[in-house]
Structure formats: structure tokens, C-alpha cells
């Protein structure tokens, strides 16, 4: 997959798209499942840590010791001190302050990307799984195209055309990583079509779309939740890579990725300015992956 791996999203192959739905286990129902999630201590700790970091980012204007872009000319590229806990960057801006503010943009963009991927993926998957036939063919063709382009390169090109309009970045990242949710929804729906409770709904005269939205989509969504959680960390890695390469979010707006871009130039003199943002990206990604694994154990494997 990824690779930054050069393509960052987990790649599904065109073959996995056409897996026989009968081989995919049915999602289990939700009763008492939350209890099982809390048994997985690693997942719970990860979730709490993520929420904590998110909270700090939200409260950035209150918590940050300095304004976001404030320049301290007496401390340029300085190490940790009483005034600046994590030192300052090459322009004399407080690293700790910018980390907190950077978290806002980093998390917001990753969240937005996942949202876009989910909306597009669920829509495409529902169309393919519910209508089948030529609609399915068209969606499959679209998936084939997206699996046959070097996604990361395309994302880089599109992001470079965004020229400072931040909202384009989640659109680009989400718009190129909807294939996995689409696949899960499609196979889920195809599988559920055969189920007795769906037949029962049908024989009770429940109309087509109501059948899909009320009865089929909710159980098919639980594996998507797992993908979304893990996808969040992938989206964060893509955004950070873009910003790190200088094609993502442009300064002075801080994200952890573009702070690292500046940090690398001054690696020798102020290593902390490069270490801290990357470490945060790593930690949050790790937390999302652990949370995703915990969710998967509960929602998909059912054991």
C-alpha cells in the first residue's frame, strides 16, 4: 500500500473489488458490542488520547501561550527555554503554539477528507450494490480507473493547483480514496440482498429505497466505520506529505506537515522543531490505527 509508500491509501486491487460477496462475513449486530470494545485497553487508551489532542486543538486560542504567527526576534531558531517550551522556529515563532494551532488544520483536513471519501464511497457502493447491472459496471469502471492511476502523483498535481485554497485539499484526498468504502458497501449490500430479514421486509411491502436505507445500509456500514478510522490516519499522512513537499497547506497557516517542511532545513541547529510535529503525526496515526483495530475486532470479526 502506501508510499510513502508511495501511494498512501491502502490499495485494493481490481480483483478484490470483484470478490464473491458470499465469502465476506456478515457484519454482526450491534448489541453489547460497545462493551467488548472497552475490553481492548490499547484501543481505549488510543481513543482517549486522540480525543485529548483534538480537544487541545479546538481550544487552541485559549491554551496557546502566544498568538499563532507572533514573531519573537530575540529568539530565532532557539532551543527550549522558559519562554518557549519547545523553542522557536527559523522566524522566531513559538513551536508549541504553532503545534497546537497546526493540530486544528491537520485534524480538520484529515476529517474532511474521510468525510468526502465516505460520502462518495457510500453513494457509489449503494448504487452498484442496489441496482447491479449496468450501474454496477459503470461504478466498477470508475473504480478500475482510480486503481490504475498513480494516486499520490495525481493528488500532488491537483493539490499544487489549489494555490492556497485549503478546502480543495480534503476534496482531492477524499476524492481519490473512496474505493475501499465503496467496495465494502457494495459487497455488503449484495450479501444482504439474500438475507431473510431483507426478504421479509420486501414481502411486507417495504419500498426499494426504504429497504436499502432502513434495513440494508446500517448493517453494511459497520466495516466502513473501521475503514474510516484507519482512513483518517492515511488521510493525515497524505496531507502531511503534501504539506511536507510544499504542495499542501501553505504557510503561515500551520499544519504539522508544513512545520516539518520548515523544520528539515534547520535540522542541524534546531532538531526539536522538526522532531515535534512529526512525532505528533506519528502518535495520532498510531492511535487511529489502534482504535481501528479495536473496532474491527468488535464489528467485523465478531470475536
Amino acid at each position: 500500500m502506501k508510499n510513502n509508500r508511495y501511494t498512501l491509501t491502502p490499495r485494493i486491487s481490481p480483483r478484490t473489488w470483484r470478490i464473491d460477496p458470499a465469502r465476506v462475513p456478515l457484519p454482526v449486530s450491534r448489541g453489547a458490542l460497545s462493551g467488548r470494545f472497552f475490553e481492548d485497553h490499547l484501543a481505549v487508551i488510543s481513543l482517549i488520547l486522540v480525543l485529548f489532542i483534538a480537544l487541545i486543538s479546538i481550544l487552541a486560542p485559549v491554551l496557546a501561550p502566544y498568538p499563532r504567527d507572533k514573531i519573537d526576534l530575540d529568539n530565532i531558531s532557539s532551543g527550549p527555554s522558559a519562554e518557549h517550551v519547545l523553542g522557536t522556529d527559523e522566524l522566531g515563532r513559538d513551536v508549541f503554539t504553532r503545534l497546537i494551532f497546526g493540530g486544528r488544520f491537520t485534524l480538520l483536513i484529515a476529517g474532511g477528507s474521510v468525510l468526502v471519501a465516505l460520502v462518495v464511497g457510500v453513494m457509489m457502493g449503494t448504487l452498484a450494490g442496489y441496482f447491479g447491472g449496468w450501474v454496477d459496471q459503470v461504478v466498477s469502471a470508475a473504480v478500475d480507473v482510480f486503481l490504475s492511476i498513480p494516486v499520490f502523483l495525481i493528488v500532488l498535481i491537483l493539490a499544487s493547483l489549489s494555490s492556497g485554497r485549503i478546502w480543495i485539499i480534503p476534496l482531492v484526498i477524499g476524492g481519490t480514496s473512496w474505493m475501499e468504502p465503496a467496495r465494502l458497501i457494495r459487497t455488503g449490500l449484495l450479501r444482504l440482498r439474500e438475507e431473510e430479514f431483507v426478504e421479509a421486509a420486501h414481502s411486507l411491502g417495504v419500498s426499494g429505497w426504504k429497504k436499502v436505507f432502513r434495513h440494508m445500509l446500517p448493517p453494511a456500514l459497520s466495516p466502513v466505520l473501521v475503514t474510516a478510522t484507519i482512513g483518517f490516519s492515511q488521510a493525515m499522512l497524505i496531507e502531511s506529505s503534501l504539506s511536507f513537499l510544499g504542495f499542501g497547506v501553505q504557510p503561515p497557516v500551520p499544519t504539522w506537515g508544513n512545520m516539518l517542511y520548515n523544520g528539515q532545513i534547520f535540522l542541524r541547529t534546531s532538531p526539536l522543531a522538526a522532531f515535534a510535529p512529526g512525532f505528533l503525526i506519528f502518535t495520532v496515526c498510531l492511535c487511529f490505527n489502534f482504535t481501528g483495530r479495536g473496532l474491527k475486532r468488535v464489528l467485523v470479526a465478531g470475536k
Binding site: R15, D144, I149, A274, G278, L286, N289
Partner: protein, 327 residues
């Protein structure tokens, strides 16, 4: 089987056309279109610009331009001249390929060997401390921002310890030597391989566990074969196949290289070539790489499919999805 392969090939044609349309659209999405970078230069007069546009055929209607472009790029593999220095893109790409193959090839090889060892040990000692440790490594590998990891590796091994060079492919102004090359290769190849082995070792572990529960493994054990031969001859051969198809499908990256790793380590390969093209808005170069890499991805996805069919008769079309317990 033959008709299946033929059908596959037929599917590829619309795919190539769609991809060519997307790439063409990208070319024209760029601000100012293909001559955007020249248009920004104050020394270029409106007259020059219109002559330039004419020479590129930019005043033709878009469908005509597209057809010309398609013929040139997809049928003759001529990606035009670089906007930066006027050299043919194909020649420039050819110069970059060896460095990329060197880096990606060694990273692949390293990842393959290590992930085999990790996968086999994890599967054999399921739920043991070793398994958990390898599992932790693999989760770490998928969460690690490569650019950060690479920077930290440079900081530690080059700046602090002074053991390994911080970047480049060889020491300049020194006669060419294999040892020097290897010395430069260690850091980027190790960093890059970590990202691959994270997923590959998991695939192998899952495949092995799946195989171990098969009837034929029980039979092999019941026949009194040594555990070693059961694992190496029977289980591993079956479990390695899904991993192999995953690896085959990633072969195209051998060509495109790793944009991030190559940029951080100043490695003169395709990834960095692409990155520099992006910085200088050299779209003929950038899109040339996108086109080649798309074609390679299509080719190797196809190869992966065929490989799967060739080694696993159970999934051949026309056969019921019966047989093994996983059907």
C-alpha cells in the same frame, strides 16, 4: 481461460482512454495551460506567446488537440520536450531510471526477506511475545510518516553519529566505487523497506495461518513429515502466493520511485525527478511520468490477475467457487 484473458484485455482499452482523458485534462487545468510558465515571464511579449501557442497547436479546438496528443503520447511514447531545458522528456527519464531501480529494488528485496522471516515466525508462534512484537512493528510501520522517519534517521546516523551519508547516490568528485554506492544506499533503502514490510509481513502471517488450518497440512503431519518440511514445502508455498500478487502489483513503483524518500535523501531517481518537475511546473515531464506509471500499473494489475489464475486453479472462471474450505 483464454476468453477470460481476452475479455480482460478488452477491458483495458477503455481504461487507457479514460486515463488519457484525465491526464489531458490535468495538462489544461494548469494555470495558463501548457504555456502557463512562459506566460508568467515579463520578457515574453504577447506576440511571442501567440507564436508559441501556435507551435504547440494550442489554438486548435480541444478535441483536435487531444487526438494529436493521444497519438503522440500513447502510440509513439513521445512525451514532448521539457518546458525547463527543452530536452526530450523520454531521454531525461531514461537517465533517471537506473538510480530509482537501484533504490527501489534493494528496498523491495530487503522488505521481502524481512517480511518473510517476520511472517513465518509470527504465524508459527501465534499470540506469543514475538508475534505481538512483530505486530507492533507492522502497526508502527503503517503509522509512520516516512518523511519524518527519514529526517530522524538522517539526524541520528548522519548528523549526530556521522556513520552514514545524509543523501545522494555517491560521493561526488571521487572515483566511482561499489562500496561508496552501498554506503549511500543503506539509509534510504532501509527507511523505504520498513513501509513495505509492514503490510507484507501481515499478509504472509494471515496467509500462513489460513493455510495451517487446511486439511492437507494435517495430512502432511499425519504422514510423519518433519515440521520443517511441512512448513517450508507445504504451507509456505501456498501462503506466499497472495503476497506475491501484492508484490507484483507494486512493481510499477520500481519505476516511479518514492517521491518523498528520494526527495529527503536527495536521491537522483524518478521520484525526485517528478518532484522537481512539479516545482518548476514542467508539465510535459510530470504528465509523462503519470502516463508511463499508469500504463505500468494497468500492465502489472493484469499480470497479478493472471499470476493468481495460473497458481490458484480454484479461482479460475468457469469453475464453481467450490473446493477449499475458504470457498
Amino acid at each position: 481461460m483464454k476468453s477470460y484473458i481476452f475479455g480482460k484485455i478488452l477491458r483495458v482499452i477503455p481504461l487507457v482512454i479514460l486515463i488519457s482523458v484525465i491526464t489531458f485534462a490535468l495538462l489544461h487545468l494548469a494555470p495558463g495551460g501548457p504555456v502557463g510558465i512562459v506566460a508568467g515571464n515579463p520578457k515574453v511579449s504577447a506576440d511571442d506567446l501567440s507564436r508559441l501557442r501556435e507551435s504547440y497547436g494550442l489554438d486548435d479546438p480541444l478535441p483536435v488537440q487531444y487526438l494529436h496528443w493521444f497519438k503522440q503520447v500513447f502510440l509513439r511514447f513521445d512525451f514532448g520536450k521539457s518546458y525547463v531545458n527543452g530536452r526530450p522528456v523520454t531521454a531525461m527519464i531514461r537517465e533517471r531510471i537506473p538510480a530509482t531501480l537501484e533504490l527501489m529494488g534493494s528496498a523491495f528485496l530487503l522488505a521481502l526477506i524481512v517480511s518473510c522471516v517476520m511472517g513465518v515466525f509470527s504465524a508459527l508462534k501465534r499470540d506469543s511475545a514475538v508475534d505481538h512484537f512483530f505486530s507492533a512493528i507492522s502497526v508502527t510501520g503503517t503509522s509512520l510518516p516516512v518523511f519524518w522517519f527519514a529526517l530522524m534517521a538522517i539526524y541520528l546516523f548522519s548528523l549526530r553519529l556521522g556513520l552514514l551519508p545524509a543523501g545522494g547516490r555517491e560521493t561526488l568528485a571521487v572515483p566511482h566505487s561499489v562500496l561508496d554506492r552501498l554506503h549511500h544506499l543503506i539509509l534510504p533503502a532501509s527507511v523505504l523497506s520498513l513501509t513495505y514490510l509492514a503490510s507484507w509481513s501481515r499478509y504472509l502471517r494471515a496467509g500462513l495461518l489460513d493455510t495451517f488450518s487446511g486439511d492437507f497440512i494435517r495430512t502432511a503431519r499425519a504422514k510423519g513429515l518433519s515440521e520443517r518440511s511441512v512448513i517450508l514445502k507445504h504451507a509456505l508455498r501456498n501462503a506466499v502466493l497472495p503476497v506475491l500478487t501484492v508484490v507484483v502489483m507494486q512493481i510499477p513503483t520500481l519505476f516511479t520511485g518514492a517521491v518523498i524518500t528520494e526527495t529527503v535523501f536527495a536521491w537522483p531517481g524518478m521520484g525526485r525527478f517528478f518532484y522537481e518537475g512539479m516545482q518548476r511546473q514542467d508539465y510535459s515531464r510530470v504528465l509523462g511520468i503519470v502516463v508511463i506509471s499508469s500504463l505500468l500499473i494497468i500492465l502489472f494489475n493484469f499480470a497479478g490477475d493472471i499470476l493468481c489464475l495460473a497458481v490458484d486453479p480454484r479461482i479460475r472462471p468457469g469453475r464453481l467457487a467450490g473446493g477449499g474450505k475458504n470457498a
